[in-house]
């Protein structure tokens, strides 16, 4: 996973609440056994005219009414979003698609839990700001072509072009993992003796921890 420290990038606005992971990447792209190459499928049904349901990605015609197809947002790496972004299915294909498309940060008033978790595992920073701050960013991005934000993780600030800044909070453990780009499995493996001791205690106290061999009924 790539570390995330500071990002200075163009912002793109996606002005709707409850954007679910089915919308971020529809079902036909979940059949892959790889993590890569999903950017082309991001927001598939909104992004292409007459998007076919067979998962085809060649010969598609961008729908000019979809915001990410507006040339002024080309190259955006920060997505501005609304309440409950990423709700629904746990599919990690959603952050994989966002990352592959180029997004490294998403700014919204709230995120769905599983999606929020999944972002951190992929080096994407989800930033929660109060709804009125997000509202202001939406207004400014609409009014200002080339609108850029700087997101600074060490100081937990979003810097506006006006030099004002909005602070955000983040769990310190998650922050550290992002800053360092850490392998969480490796970290947990270092605690193997603790896990083994726990398993031993549990097995003595709750011998049903390991399922019975199938039988009965």
């Amino acid at each position: 996973m790539d570390a995330f420290v500071t990002l200075d990038a163009l912002a793109a606005p996606l002005d709707r609440a409850n954007v679910d992971t089915d919308a971020i990447i529809p079902k036909q792209f979940l059949k892959t056994i790889r993590r890569t190459g999903l950017g082309v499928a991001l927001f598939y049904d909104w992004r292409y005219k007459d998007a076919p349901s067979d998962g085809r990605t060649e010969g598609l015609v961008p729908d000019p009414s979809f915001v990410l197809n507006d040339p002024r947002y080309k190259g955006a790496r920060i997505l501005l979003a609304r309440e409950n972004f990423g709700c629904g299915s746990s599919r990690e294909h959603a952050p994989w698609a966002l990352l592959d498309y180029g997004f490294r940060a998403i700014v919204a008033p709230s995120f769905a839990d599983i999606f929020y978790n999944n972002c951190f595992k992929n080096g994407i920073l989800p930033v929660v700001l109060p709804a009125d701050h997000v509202d202001r960013l939406f207004r400014e991005v609409a009014a200002t072509p080339g609108y850029r934000l700087t997101i600074d993780l060490p100081s937990q600030k979003v810097l506006l072009p006006s030099k004002e800044s909005f602070s955000f909070s983040i769990d310190p453990v998650r922050k550290n993992h992002l800053l360092e780009g850490l392998d969480e499995i490796g970290l947990a493996e270092k605690k193997a003796p603790l896990i083994e001791a726990y398993e031993k205690r549990r097995q003595e106290r709750e011998p049903w921890l390991v399922p019975a061999a199938p039988g009965g009924r």
Partner: protein, 465 residues
Amino acid sequence: MPRTIIDKIWENHVVTEENGTALLYIDRHLVHEVTSPQAFEGLRIAGRKVRRPELTFAVPDHNVPTTDRSRGIADPVSALQVDTLADNARHFGVTHFAMNDPRQGIVHVIAPEQGITLPGQTIVCGDSHTATHGAFGSLAFGIGTSEVEHVLATQTLAQSRPRTMEIRLVGQPPRGITPKDLILAVIGQIGAAGGTGYVIEFTGDPVRALSMEGRMTLCNMAIEAGARAGLVAPDATTFAYIKGRPYAPKGETWEKAVAAWKELPSDPGATYDKTVLVDVSALSPQVTWGTNPGQVVGVDGRVPDPESFSDAVVRDSARKALAYMGLTPGTPLAEIPVTRIFIGSCTNGRIEDLRAAARVAKGRKVAPGVSAMVVPGSGLVRTQAEQEGLHTIFLEAGFEWREPGCSMCLGMNPDQLAPFERCASTSNRNFEGRQGKNGRTHLVSPEMAAAAAVSGRFVDHRTLA
């Protein structure tokens, strides 16, 4: 200090804790073909093993066809994903219920059925509807693929402690009100993000009165309110369901387990971070009108006018939803015609759901122009339904009787809505494109889906009784 069941399960599973993040031990890991290939690949690349294969259970459910399977899966991409799961299960020594195993089915239907799901456990799966298992008084939640890999490798997950929410159902539900109506009403009240950051405990007499199947329907959709998990404290109903199931504890261990499970319910005086009362005494059968499960009204209601909502975000969501759904404000729900019916899914694909739908379908015919299908949640549900003759009722009424799987809940297999088709569905999500691009999904109970099938529109199933 009195503790909630959520606190008790949480504290019993903390291996170690640092800066507010716990390393949580995972008792059961359920795996399906869609969200696991990249996780197993990660293990192979790093040269890691599955730490506790005997706590890990795999089944293909999303991609499997619900028509004749004897010649395999026609779509080569789906087939590869299902084959990859089988290969991974074999390679890593994980129990695998293959597509043609009589026990195969939707992961959230078969784990309880097999006695794999037990009270007091932590249960995860790379699937948001893992909340279903909370019906047994376990802490069960959906995770992403990176976390699947983490659990495979370490049998633990790094987690921050969830906030706790009690949703207490009060009042006696009217006759014919189903668990699906209860949970849709809950989501309608608290909203699609009302549970974000929380684990919900469902309490109250209407919850106690539910069967295990009903409790699973209730907990299944906790995620649709944004909650990390939903659960119901175990009781005699729970123990009776589990006893004798293939993987359930037996003999002396059973006695010991039940004694421990009886200690799980929340202590008197335990407090939650939030308590919400939901009065269910005046509910009518629920039908969603929008594109999130919180956009719901009774079948006796009308499609709301977006302009009637004071909150700007809610108003905008309602406008977009009505445009997508092709609905006009003020239309009575009972005047909305439907042409497709889907009865099944991890929400409503269990035996009681099929019995309920069959009671409505019995002696009636699917309305002209309507196509209806019943997809049992598992092979064992299908077999039991056939032993009870339910399939005959469905077939005589003109329903299709299918093989088990996730099917048209999300349409990863060939079961999909055509553009602009309108469907009464017993599944859990009415999102845009969920059941097929531009498909229009209305979430309902099995009874309401069957009533819509025979009427060609939404109708209060109680008027058909």
